[in-house]
């Protein structure tokens, strides 16, 4: 069925093309319009055939399969000239470290990138030194460990994927470095997911063993359980650590991790827009100026008087 319709389509396209050339060259308008009409009809029939063929394999999607669409929140970085809230990033790192980091890695983020974003140089150095990294083997070839440096990446909780799966009943906690970019809905989705665990799934929903219900997760059944509870962490700046506060902060942190260039990008964008739009206006003016002489040129023709 499908191959047939493909063939039909190709054939009709070829027909349409020959018709078009025929129409272009021949002067007989009547026959060319006839060709066009048959071509259009053929194309229409083929298209509907294709659509029908497609519909045969289509599955009905339920709302649950799509997942609940997350609402839009007033993120500090919403708007073309708005930066991240770095105080929130700082708190968010704390939430990541104390909560998320138990299962989720942050492979693509190096310690040094936190410097000047959410922590001072010495703070990050101290944080990095708490972790051990593989060092060069010693003189006898035995593996050695060294404390972390700024140049190292933030270590994950598991040495490899198998270990991560084994510790989580076969589910792999995704790396969070780019999670905000990797999920439809971005920050809004992450925030909704973190705050959106109902205490009971809706009536009639049957979950697999070990799964949790979250309406925002496509399919509704998610291996990750609710992790954020009020006062789970204690913020150094005294911000009350409610669930939504922590969710906001950690989402802000993860958004920064996904888009570390964000603030600078918006600054550069502002510059680029100003420069390019003024260049555009100037070039319009210069074009008019250059053409003015040509466009206002006058030709007058006085026929020469006959000499004789």
């Amino acid at each position: 069925m499908f191959s047939k319709s493909i063939f039909n389509r190709v054939a009709s396209k070829a027909a349409a093309r020959t018709m078009a050339t025929a129409a272009g060259t021949s002067a007989k308008a009547a026959s060319s319009s006839k060709f066009l009409i048959t071509g259009a009809a053929l194309a229409g029939v083929t298209a509907s055939g294709l659509l029908y063929a497609d519909s045969l394999t289509a599955n009905a999607m339920t709302a649950a399969e799509h997942g609940l669409h997350s609402p839009e929140f007033d993120w500090p970085q919403n708007g073309p000239f708005e930066t991240f809230d770095h105080a929130s990033i700082r708190r968010g790192y704390q939430v990541y470290r104390e909560v998320c980091a138990a299962c989720h890695s942050l492979d693509r983020v190096a310690w040094r990138t936190l410097v000047g974003v959410s922590h001072t140089n010495s703070e990050v150095k101290a944080m990095a030194e708490e972790f051990e990294y593989d060092d060069e083997p010693d003189d006898d070839g035995n593996p050695k460990k060294r404390p972390g440096k700024l140049a190292d990446n933030i270590p994950g909780p598991y040495p490899n994927e198998q270990a991560a799966r084994a510790a989580n009943q076969g589910a792999l906690p995704p790396d969070l470095s780019l999670i905000v970019k990797a999920r439809h809905g971005g920050s809004d989705y992450i925030f909704s997911l973190l705050t959106g665990y109902p205490e009971e799934p809706p009536e009639g929903v049957v979950l697999p063993v070990g799964a949790n219900y979250n309406p925002y997760f496509p399919g509704g059944s998610i291996a990750m359980g609710r992790v954020l509870f009020d006062d789970l962490v204690e913020y150094e700046d005294g911000t009350p650590a409610t669930t939504s506060q922590m969710a906001k902060d950690v989402t802000q942190f993860l958004n920064w991790a996904s888009e570390p260039e964000h603030d600078e990008r918006k600054r550069q964008g502002l510059k680029a827009i100003i420069i390019l739009s003024s260049l555009y206006l100037l070039s319009v003016w210069v074009k008019k100026f250059k053409w003015a002489g040509i466009k206002t040129r006058k030709f007058t023709f006085t026929p020469p008087k006959p000499r004789k």
Binding site: H69, F73, S192, P198, P202, E203, P215, T239, T242, S244
Partner: protein
């Protein structure tokens, strides 16, 4: 979170066995759910609001006209499904109804109602 909604459902379940639950009555009882939540949070930070801002807003939204209506729809569905579950041969049914759609409608409304106001309450 959705704790309050779920509380209603649970209460409803409890009540269900002896007699047919009255959905509207449960909505009025929302204060009970509040107290349950407060117990968890009150331990260390007294001067701060002990309750999650998002939950508070959602609860507020649940008590609006539309929130009540959607909640009522959900409860009705929950009741129906409960009933079906008690029918003999439920396990073998080819199609089992669930309340995801009603839940989504309610939840979507609560989200759209609470989300725009939430971040002004957070830091």
């Amino acid at each position: 979170m959705l704790s309050s909604i779920i509380d209603y459902v649970e209460e409803l379940k409890d009540q269900f066995v002896p007699y047919v639950a009255k959905a509207e009555d449960d909505v009025e009882d929302s204060n009970d759910a509040d107290e349950d939540e407060d117990e968890d949070d009150e331990d260390d930070e007294d001067e701060d609001e002990a309750k999650d801002q998002y939950d508070e807003l959602k609860e507020e939204c649940l008590n609006t006209e539309k929130g009540k209506e959607l909640h009522h729809h959900y409860l009705e569905c929950a009741e129906r499904v409960q009933k079906q579950k008690e029918q003999p041969g439920y396990e073998d049914l080819e199609h089992k109804e669930d309340c995801v759609e009603e839940f989504f409608h309610l939840q979507h409304y609560l989200d759209s109602c609470a989300a725009p106001r939430l971040f002004s309450k957070l830091k």
